[in-house]
């Protein structure tokens, strides 16, 4: 008996061991793209002339080094998500990069060539304010970290703490910046808002307070945003209300108040409502900063000023100018200024910082993407050329998080689309047919057949067949031509024009909506970005809803997608309708949505142009239809009584059902209230609309059938208890019919806690929770069956299913935490299902649904063996070969999208997080495709051999017969 169990287990496990990819399949149908996110700090390695390193720290808690020649990653470190891994500051000196992480929790030093950690120090608690490199006698030896109430000095080579001092009066004074000019002193600057500035002077050797003074500054609210240190220790501040600059010498003891310089005396004026910005530069931390600085007076007005002998003189006025930045190479400091050239381009010019004179032949033209955002950050890399003139390259970051690296005279060296580091939602759309295929399709169009007679139809058919033949010959010729070329020179460039559906519909268009409001159309085969569109005035990080209203199947009507977006200022929803293949905005008039949209519903009802009807329900329960032609409204009136929708109000724990009335108003028909004092609704999921279930039931061991409860209107509602005590916390699962509001099943997982990830498909729900008692992740599966007989086998109606389904449930231990969960999806639903589990390690596990089957028996019987049920084991296995992305890990994976392909065996998978990974999975292996290494030569030679053998033996037999007849 036991032996049988073991044998069965082995045979089942063997069934799946071959699901991993082979070495030669790597990269054949999968690709990965790595991203970094929105750049917050970027530093060029100016240590040596030939250096290609560009160090960046981003809002995704990524610290990385980019190759400035190609834009590729040299290395990348992804820290913990959330504030714990937030990068507060990035400083670079020589080969070392010093990073402050997690609101001043850790101080780290990285070796920039290979990205190795040199040292790490845990800092004292306290919220981080500022960090700076400190030099003594032309040598940078220390790094100073300013916290809310303390300042500490660390050795740059070892990280050891030299000294730490508490700041005086830290509960009333807000210390914000530090400054050191290389003369053995460290200044800590603090402010009491609208009162005075506090300057504390520390001795670098031992942290002794040398001097402390406070200076009246009643107009100042924040030091950080309005002040800068220039020249040899001169604090320079700007105030927008008094329209003046203030200077104060940090070191001199006699100056006890700030000197006011009215901007009027310099013939300058701050634009109303604009907060002026000062930009200074300190090329070497061991030396005082330059006496030149930028003052930004309005969004497109910068001015370069110089401080000399207590006086401020303008060097050059840049109007209009968008961005300005300093850069230093060797001993020379330059200023780069970006100014608009015309509507679509900007020019960047280089000026010498000390005189404001323009360098000749330094113009770089930056072409703005008409579908992109405005530039908002400029990073300049200056270097000395052989003839001792200054050359430079610039990196421009735009609002839509595009990084563009430019070289003189305007050549784009590389581009990175960092918006893709934060994909919110995505869809996959079939590619259109080629022109010839479409022609053939169009021939069967209804209109054509009616208009034309028999003969024109025949002629038409012949001509289109001829076109097909031509296309095929051209294709053959191209194949032959490409085969003669060396492999490396054949470029597989993908453009929109040559995109067409392949034989098995494996290549699709990926539509990705990102948090910054940029849309992307990406070719799923190669990962090439085919189009992009930045939507301005969008509330960032809001929920987007992407709906495919018309697929590519309705030639000549173009496919149509609709994105529901939220406006930045008004918060109202609006519809953005576009063609998913070309990314063009559609000319269709969209309905105005004067009220916030609560729910959307895509109906199977189509208008005369084959677009599915989208219903939008606003907060007064009024329904707007899109498209709202007469035809659609007529259809809606006819079917109104069978259109139901549900709303979820998790703040009140209320689920309510509505029915559409003929006049497009709605009526409340059911209500379920889950008291929020006990539990709160965390997620509601229905089933995917494009899901097919091939088999109505399961054949049992005794040859009877157990029918599945396939309710398309079923909603899975997950709740979490408000009580978080580990003994009393629970996770609730409600299965509610979305039409009648009937609670089909209600279960409670005790001693459990979220976050809950779940998949709802076919007749099952799989969810993952944290067991707070045993401190482990657990999987639970619920399956619903109608029983041995179907109530009504022809059609399912929620209104006519009086019997409650049988519910089976089983739980398993999962030995890893989980980031996200999704199920595979195939064309007809014949292929067995797998669950795709995104793990925090970046791997994606393809777990056969077979392991998550509540009918797995405790004891093996003849019948369960007949059914191929695996005996119950409480722990779910994780096998390395089940990782579909082998070593191509997806950092902080947040979502997995699955789409069916034209092949029943194949499911397309896209995993997105910080990275994007696309691959294909074959849950039941490739049963409908010949293998890659299929031996065509052998099989054809055998066939030919047999053929010739029969021919020859036939001939021989004839000769023999003839000979015998003669005898």
């Amino acid at each position: 008996m036991a032996w049988l169990v073991v044998r069965l287990a082995i045979s089942v496990s063997l069934l799946y061991t071959a699901s991993a990819v082979f070495e030669d399949q790597v990269g054949k149908f999968d690709w990965r793209q790595q991203f970094i996110g929105k750049v917050r700090f970027a530093l060029f390695d100016t240590h040596s002339q030939a250096s290609k390193k560009l160090l960046v720290a981003t809002d995704k808690n990524v610290f990385a080094s980019l190759n400035s020649r190609t834009g590729d990653l040299f290395w990348r470190h992804v820290d913990k998500t959330g504030p714990e891994g937030h990068i507060d500051a990035l400083l670079m000196y020589g080969q070392d990069a010093v990073v402050v992480v997690g609101n001043g929790r850790l101080l780290r030093s990285w070796e920039t060539t290979v990205g190795g950690l040199k040292w790490e120090t845990v800092l004292d608690t306290g919220s981080f304010q500022a960090a700076a490199l400190v030099g003594v006698q032309d040598l940078v030896k220390y790094v100073a970290v300013l916290k809310k109430s303390a300042i500490s000095l660390h050795d740059l080579s070892s990280g050891s703490q030299i000294w730490v001092e508490n700041l005086p009066d830290s509960d009333s004074v807000q210390y914000q910046t530090i400054y050191s000019g290389g003369n053995g002193l460290l200044f800590v600057l603090g402010v009491v808002p609208n009162s005075h500035i506090v300057i504390v002077e520390y001795k670098i050797e031992d942290g002794e307070i040398m001097n402390k003074k406070s200076v009246e500054a009643a107009w100042m609210s924040s030091l950080e945003s309005s002040c800068a240190v220039i020249s040899s220790g001169i604090l320079l501040c700007v105030d927008q209300i008094t329209q003046s600059l203030y200077t104060l010498s940090l070191q001199s003891a006699e100056q006890t108040e700030m000197r006011q310089i009215h901007l009027q005396t310099l013939d300058l004026e701050v634009a109303s409502g604009f907060r002026p910005v000062l930009t200074s530069t300190q090329p070497n931390p061991a030396q005082p900063p330059l006496s030149e600085f930028f003052l930004q007076l309005s969004p497109d007005h910068h001015i370069l000023l110089q401080f000399k002998d207590g006086l401020i003189a303008p060097l050059r006025d840049f109007s209009p100018s968008y961005l300005a930045a300093f850069a230093t190479s060797g001993e020379r400091t330059v200023a780069a200024v970006m100014s608009p050239k015309n509507d679509t381009a900007c020019s960047i010019n280089l000026f010498s910082a000390d005189t404001g004179r323009r360098h000749l032949d330094t113009t770089v033209i930056y072409h703005m993407d008409p579908n992109g955002g405005k530039p908002n950050r400029l990073y300049v890399h200056a270097f000395l050329k052989k003839d001792d003139s200054v050359g430079y390259r610039v990196m421009v970051q735009t609002e839509d998080l595009t990084l563009t690296f430019l070289q003189q005279p305007g050549r784009v060296v590389w581009m990175r689309e960092e918006a893709l580091a934060d994909v919110v939602t995505m869809e996959m759309v079939d590619l259109p047919f080629t022109g010839t295929q479409a022609e053939l399709e169009g021939e069967f169009g209804k209109k054509a057949a009616i208009q034309d007679g028999l003969l024109p139809m025949v002629l038409k058919r012949l001509s289109s067949q001829f076109i097909l033949l031509q296309a095929w010959l051209a294709h053959l010729w191209k194949l032959f031509y490409d085969a003669r070329q060396p492999r490396s020179s054949v470029k597989n460039e993908v453009t929109i024009d040559i995109l067409s559906r392949d034989e098995f519909n494996l290549q699709k268009m990926m539509l990705m909506v990102t948090a910054s409001g940029k849309l992307f159309g990406i070719d799923s085969k190669s990962g090439t970005i085919l189009w992009k569109q930045y939507l301005e005035n969008i509330q960032p990080n809001s929920v987007f809803k992407l709906i495919v209203q018309r697929t590519t199947a309705h030639f000549p009507h173009p496919p149509q997608c609709t994105l529901l977006i939220k406006h930045k200022d008004t918060g109202l929803g609006s519809l953005y309708v576009f063609n998913p293949i070309f990314g063009k905005k559609s000319q269709i008039s969209v309905p105005a949505l004067p009220r916030p949209v609560l729910q959307t519903l895509l109906l199977p009802v189509i208008d005369q142009d084959y677009a599915k009807v989208l219903l939008l329900i606003d907060d007064q329960y009024k329904v707007t239809a899109f498209p709202s032609t007469k035809n659609v409204l007529q259809q809606l009136q006819d079917t109104a009584s069978s259109i139901f929708f549900y709303l979820v109000d998790s703040s009140q724990g209320k689920l309510s059902g509505f029915r559409l009335r003929k006049d497009l108003s709605t009526e409340l028909i059911w209500e379920v209230v889950i008291p929020t004092e006990v539990q709160k609704i965390v997620a509601v999921k229905g089933k995917r609309a494009n899901e097919h279930v091939h088999s109505q039931g399961r054949v049992m061991g005794d040859r009877s059938v157990l029918y599945k409860y396939l309710n398309p209107n079923l909603l899975a509602v997950i709740t979490e208890s408000t009580d978080t005590h580990q003994e009393r916390s629970f996770v609730g699962i409600f299965l509610i019919d979305g039409v009648t509001g009937r609670i089909v099943h209600e279960a409670v997982q005790r001693k459990a806690r979220g976050p809950v990830h779940f998949v709802h498909s076919e007749n099952w729900v799989v969810y993952v929770y944290w067991n707070s008692k045993f401190r482990r992740n657990e999987f639970s599966v619920l399956e619903l069956f109608e029983g041995a007989e179907l109530y009504n086998s022809t059609v399912f109606s929620s209104l006519d299913r009086p019997h409650a389904p049988q519910v089976l449930q089983q739980s398993y231990i999962f030995p890893a935490p989980i980031n996200t969960l999704e199920a595979t999806l195939t064309e007809k639903g014949i292929t067995s299902r797998h669950l795709l589990v995104g793990l925090p390690s970046g791997n994606i596990l393809s777990l056969p649904k077979m392991f998550l089957d509540p009918r797995r028996p405790e004891l093996v019987s003849e019948q369960s063996r007949e059914e191929n049920l695996i005996p119950y084991a409480p722990e779910m296995p994780i096998r390395e070969e089940w990782f579909i992305n082998y070593n191509q890990t997806v950092s902080s994976v947040r979502g997995i999208y699955t789409a069916p392909s034209g092949l029943e065996s194949t499911c397309l998978v896209v995993a997105y997080g910080l990275d994007i990974y696309q691959t294909r999975v074959f849950p039941s292996k490739q049963f409908d495709v010949l293998k890659d290494d299929y031996d065509y030569i052998l099989i054809s030679s055998v066939l030919f051999g047999l053929f010739f053998a029969t021919m020859i033996s036939k001939r021989l037999a004839e000769v023999k017969l003839l000979n015998r007849a003669w005898r």
Partner: protein, 251 residues
């Protein structure tokens, strides 16, 4: 005939089909055993209202009274009135236009120790097609769902059979008395991974393996006949082959 009418009237008033609802252990939290004694008086009742209108604007009126009994064996009883002549006609009219028959109960908590906070605001509503109620001769199943704390979160109604086929119903006999099955359903506790029985089973198997004398035998003890047979076969073949070689050597 009259006696039958009276009998049916009495039946109607008393018609209350009860399904006992055994409360799970968690719901009894904080309740002492003495409570079980005075259960009959700790019970409470809430109205069950229904609405069926031709113009489909809900106007609820009393259908019956739900009586909850506290104690060890929680039960719910429904005592409901007979449909009046006017109601019967309206119901048939509503069924003819495929209208809805709605019911609602106020949100209540079934926990006796929460009586004070029992009456929360709002109602729980649900519906069934009026035609299916008519065609099933007013036989319906009403289920009240509670959450872990014993608070009613949802109500559902189904008729048996649930379909609408357009069968004519004689109003006098079939549409007077509700034939209702009512029950209260508490959430079931979802299973946790069953490690203990699995380990036990594994141990049993190990034990069985240990006890089985055949499994304990050594390799030679088990397969001596195969080894012997093999050895004999080898010897036989080698002895058959050696003579020719020997002969050649000799010659």
């Amino acid at each position: 005939m009259a006696t039958i009418r009276i009998l049916s009237l009495i039946l109607a008033v008393l018609s209350s089909i009860t399904l006992l609802w055994t409360q799970s252990g968690e719901c009894n939290n904080g309740r002492r055993s003495e409570d079980a004694v005075d259960t009959d008086f700790s019970g409470f009742s809430v109205p069950l209202e229904h609405s069926f209108e031709v113009d489909d604007v809900p106007r609820f009126h009393l259908r019956g009274v739900l009586q909850f009994r506290g104690g060890r064996e929680h039960g719910v009883y429904l005592s409901q009135n007979q449909l009046s002549e006017k109601d019967r006609i309206t119901l048939k009219d509503v069924a003819a236009v495929d209208g809805l028959y709605r019911i609602r109960v106020p949100r209540v908590s079934l926990q006796v120790d929460r009586q004070t906070e029992r009456q929360s605001e709002g109602y729980l509503t649900t519906f069934v097609r009026a035609c299916s109620l008519v065609e099933s001769h007013l036989s319906d199943v009403i289920t009240l769902h509670t959450d872990v704390s014993g608070c009613v979160v949802g109500i559902s109604i189904v008729t048996i059979p649930g379909s609408c086929r357009g069968i004519e119903v004689e109003d006098e006999v079939d549409l007077e008395v509700f034939n209702t099955t009512i029950s209260v359903v508490a959430p079931v506790t979802a299973p946790v991974p069953e490690t203990a029985p699995y380990i036990e089973r594994m141990e049993q198997e190990m034990e069985k393996k240990g006890k089985n004398p055949q499994e304990q035998k050594s390799f030679f003890a088990k397969y001596w006949y195969l080894i012997l047979g093999g050895a004999v076969f080898l010897m036989a073949t080698s002895s058959a082959q050696t003579p020719p070689g020997g002969v050649r050597e000799q010659s």
